[in-house]
Subunit: 246 residues, 2 copies
């Protein structure tokens, strides 16, 4: 199993949208995919209608249960979040190895899946550190705007700190430019600046309202609007990512 | 002094953009305004070029200094954030009255300003609770999209919990619909749904790229693009809010 964490403490940059649609894209190519919702907002769970009935990631961190996901279809499973996740940072203060809880939980099911994709909330706290410790690769979605660009340096600093002590093999697979509108000079100039300093995916996710509508239908973009720009872009991203693992 | 907290744990809904431009709007009307950056990303500080030189809100919470802001102009001052703010939740675990640190710090300077506006990060943690405890009123910026709508209920629950124990006088001044594009059916239908359940400002902030560009020039929208839709919308918001205090 390959584990990919979708991380950026800047809010609203398409972390959840990327986790849902990359997961769905990979599963449509025959890969068995586990989506893990690590954000107390539970947006990933809501996007696919897998809201928690008490069996969620909070219980996994508390050691009550193992990973027992909702089955969206044969190849796509979701382990939902609970609002209580937001309290874990304080609850786990004195636990040993608190950064490795997720890694240990995922190791129990790693033979059942080809990919695990972890959606993180807009934070650099303990849950995000757990995701960075558990994963092989990191995708950093980034809206090509000025405020989002400011935080990338401090995010990559966190990744290097985790790499040095908790997860030596972790690598940044790439920065994914999202919500891109080629008519906006700002998007063009910031995207050009990003690619000078960071490894950037060839695929760019364009601004496309179908991506924002799909969650109302509890659906990924391929089922909701298969001929939309959003579906094309996430299809391209899926292919680009698969090619990195051949 | 009236204290307004700009709060929403959903990321990227225009909290910082609203704090900067409402603050600037009020200061242009002759009000003396203090902007407080309570987010470790320090986007508010960056937006106005008031990045911390060590005199920041982290030091205030640690009790080292009082509020000693940067002066943007005569009527607009900014107390910057520091990246270290993100660590405060754990550092203040055993401090007494940790929810009231901000309220106490603001009470020392309340005679110097007409308004204090607090920009919060995308979280419901201790810093946001401090803002909810210190403020008179709350503005909830909300992108009129499906995922953003999901979290409002749990945010208002937090407000009622703070109201019951820490700050009985706090009230929700309104929900501010942001990044609105009237061509998008999704925006129209979600905005209609929001106004059925929550008090909504008459002013709607439209999607306008000038608002995303202004921070590159370390400027508010009125100085950066005075004739833009963004400047008009935040001017309307400023007037609407001032009318609530007459
Ligand atoms: N390419 C896109 N085009 C248009 N809308 C998009 C696109 N990607 C995401 N959205 C919408 O933008 C909003 C923010 O995206 P999303 O919630 O995925 O970001 P996030 O980084 O997960 O946010 P948070 O920091 O709160 O977890 C959502 O309403 C989503 O539906
Ligand atoms: N009305 C608008 N039209 C166009 N762009 C906007 C508008 N409001 C904000 N933006 C841009 O959208 C992005 C998100 O806005 P902003 O950073 O203010 O949100 P936030 O809620 O403070 O995010 P966070 O949750 O990370 O603190 C920024 O790049 C900002 O410049
Ligand atoms: Mg998300
Ligand atoms: Mg902000």
């Amino acid at each position: 199993m390959k584990t990919i964490a979708i991380v950026n403490n800047k809010g609203g940059v398409s972390k959840t949208t990327t986790a849902v649609n990359l997961g769905a894209g990979l599963s449509r190519k025959g890969q068995k995919v586990l989506l893990v919702d690590l954000d107390g907002q539970a947006n990933l769970s809501q996007s696919l209608g897998a809201v928690s009935d008490g069996i969620d990631m909070y219980k996994v961190f508390k050691g009550d249960i193992g990973i027992t996901p909702h089955k969206i279809n044969e190849n796509l499973h979701v382990m939902p979040a609970s609002e209580l996740l937001a309290d874990l940072e304080l609850e786990l203060v004195s636990e040993f190895e608190r950064e490795r809880f997720l890694k240990n939980a995922l190791s129990e099911i790693e033979r059942e899946y080809d990919f695990a994709i972890i959606d993180c909330g807009p934070s650099k706290g303990l849950l995000t550190v757990n995701a960075l410790t558990a994963c092989d690769d990191i995708i950093i979605p980034l809206q090509s705007e000025y405020l989002a660009l400011q935080g990338v340096r401090s995010l990559t600093d966190l990744v290097f700190r985790v790499k040095k002590s908790l997860n030596p093999k972790v690598r940044i697979l790439g920065v994914l430019i999202t919500m891109y509108d080629k008519r906006k000079i700002l998007n063009k100039s910031i995207a050009a600046e990003i690619s000078q300093h960071y490894p950037v995916f060839e695929t760019i996710i364009r601004e496309n309202v179908s991506l924002a509508e799909a969650p109302t239908a509890k659906s990924d973009i391929f089922n909701y609007a298969p001929r939309s720009m959003g579906a094309k872009d996430y299809e391209n991203l899926t292919n680009e990512i698969l090619s990195k693992y051949e």
